[in-house]
Amino acid sequence: MSAKSARERILDAAVERIASDGIDAVRIARIAMDARVSTALVHYHFATREALLAEALEHSFETAGDVRDEGGESGDSAARLRAMIDQCLPLPGELERDWVLWVELWLRAVRHPELRPTAAKLYKRMNVWFRQAIEEGGFGDVDAGAIADRTLALIDGFGVRALLGDPAMPLERARAEVWHALAGDLGLHAGAPSEYVR
């Protein structure tokens, strides 16, 4: 196991702090302490606070991405897509923590345009990921782009509610609803989440 670079430790620490304390409570000095580096080194690696936040977002995304590539080779396209949906929802553990980060960063990006290109880049990456899986899945002549757009919007909308513990949207239901919509788009007969249809 290789030792993490200082830069990576700083990013890990930033991710943890944003998730646990919220962006506005984040202090560079605290991140430096958590990462066992000096504040000067943090400033050396990240010229501005926004730069650190943008990279923390990418870092958590990429770390989650390591999880994302698993389960891709089973050959069952539908199963692969279901696994991909799971990896985008706030499942307990790291994904849930990452979601807290992303919600905080979405909000910040509204007021800090410097963060927006990072957010756009990550959305595009997710979109391409889904689009390719749909195109390669043998589902016939479907509008993969539009389906990917809708799937991601549903993931975000259901995901936020699940993250907030909305009684109407437990995580299991979020998974079922997103899959139900996607399966419908792909011409698969997933059946509606049965208790939710009259």
């Binding site: 506005d24 509204v110 927006r116 957010a119 959305y123 757009d149 975000d156 909308g157």
Partner: protein
């Protein structure tokens, strides 16, 4: 303590309007009660008389904005004969005030992540929205316009779709336009609420 009632009635909406503006500009964290007071043309005690915390200002500002939205909506919808047209109109009217509204909802989510009272307020506001949609669905079902879908379930899905796109609109994602969002929402309506005769 006896307030001056007339001033009180004038003050509350003015304070909420000011709160919506300031919070949209600066965020909850960056907003001080004094900022809202100044914007509303009153004093900090004048604000605190009605609202004890900034979180209350946020949740009540959204509730107030929703009240106005639903009132206007009901007026508009009353003039439309078909439930399908009413649903289309709701989709067209959203996002109601554009950017400011969307950012307030996002502020609400972030606060709700850490504060149970705000989370509960968010749920109530969301439930209200879902009930409004579900009512249109039921009317449509009674009139034979819509198929046998669960109204609450559909409202949840439509709400999720709209929220997901709202985030990307707020982030100014160039790939997402209000027109595309409306297309996606109406596509969902057509798919899930297809008329009884057309159900596969």
């Amino acid at each position: 303590m006896s307030p001056r009632p007339t001033t009180g009635h004038v003050r509350r909406p003015a304070i909420l309007k000011a709160a919506a503006e300031v919070i949209a500009e600066r965020g909850v964290i960056g907003t001080r009660i004094a900022d809202v007071a100044e914007r509303a043309g009153t004093s900090a005690p004048g604000v605190l008389y009605w609202f004890a915390t900034k979180d209350e200002l946020l949740t009540e500002a959204l509730a107030f904005s929703d009240d106005r939205f639903y009132a206007e909506l009901n007026d508009e919808l009353a003039q439309l004969d078909s439930a399908r047209d009413r649903l289309r109109r709701i989709v067209e009217l959203w996002p109601a005030e554009g950017d400011d509204e969307a950012v307030l909802w996002m502020e609400l989510w972030v606060r709700a992540l850490r504060d149970p009272a705000v989370n509960a307020a968010r749920e109530r506001l969301d439930a209200r929205w879902r009930a409004a949609i579900a009512e249109v669905i039921r009317d449509g079902q009674a009139a034979g316009e819509f198929g046998p879908v669960d109204p609450e379930g559909f409202a949840l899905t439509l709400g999720a779709l709209m929220d997901g796109f709202a985030i990307q609109l707020a982030l100014r994602d160039p790939a997402v336009t209000p027109e595309r969002v409306h297309e996606h929402c109406m596509a969902l309506v057509e798919e899930r609420l297809g008329p009884l005769e057309g159900v596969a």
